[in-house]
Amino acid sequence: MSEGTVKKFMFVNRKAPYGSVYALESLEVVLITAAFDQDVSLAFLDDGVYQLVKGQDTKAVGMKNFSPTYRALEGYDIEKLYVERESLEARGLTEEQLLVDVQVLSQADMASLMAEQDVVLSF
């Protein structure tokens, strides 16, 4: 493919943070992808919504708290953050409890959005 190709990349986050490294290393890929001028979206569904919960404090577990980095995404021109409503509801969470501005989508809309992507990377 020629230079200047713009594809729709979606990063699907379905895992909670800290219990495994996927959330952190997924975020690292997202930050790199920003440099390639692609059409990037992030989807948070299932336990992935826990990544965005406010008030994370990792001092006592001795791990890095990477949750503030989600707020840096805007400066990287990554502004499409989608959270699935059903996943929030199933976990008793509301949009107000999230640490960054997101667009809350129904499961049906999330499914349609996924079906429009060129590249789907799940972590």
Binding site: E25, E28, L121, F123
Partner: protein
């Protein structure tokens, strides 16, 4: 067709490295091009030359290396993930190279399909 493969788990612990390798082999046999295999997360552990399974077990690292040797498949290990897990040039198996996450993004741009194998 150009197919890129992402491997997110180490060898032996999960089946994903085996499935990924079997998939790559079948794709090449069917006449497709494996544009790149990118190793991320614990997948970087597929690339250590210190691996020594018992003789009656498959040698997953050598299997990957053979894809590079026989078919020129680009085997790329993510530098950031590798450094975290102690995979460096000194213990990197033949046929692999260490590079940046940009190579994964590039695969997404250049390949017709990206297939992820993980747990």
């Amino acid at each position: 067709m150009k197919i890129a493969v992402l491997v997110n788990e180490g060898p032996y612990q999960h089946q994903s490295a085996d499935t990924a390798w079997n998939f790559c082999k079948a794709a090449i046999e069917a006449g497709h091009e494996i544009q790149r295999v990118f190793f991320y997360h614990d997948g970087v552990n597929n690339a250590t030359k210190l691996t020594e399974p018992p003789q009656d077990d498959r040698h997953i690292v050598n299997r990957w290396a053979s894809l590079n040797k026989e078919h020129g498949v680009d085997l790329v290990v993510c530098v950031a993930a590798a450094m975290r897990r102690g995979i460096v040039e000194a213990n990197l198996a033949e046929g692999f190279r260490i590079s940046g996450l940009g190579q994964l993004v590039e695969s997404g741009i250049q390949a017709d399909r990206v297939v992820t194998f993980g747990d």
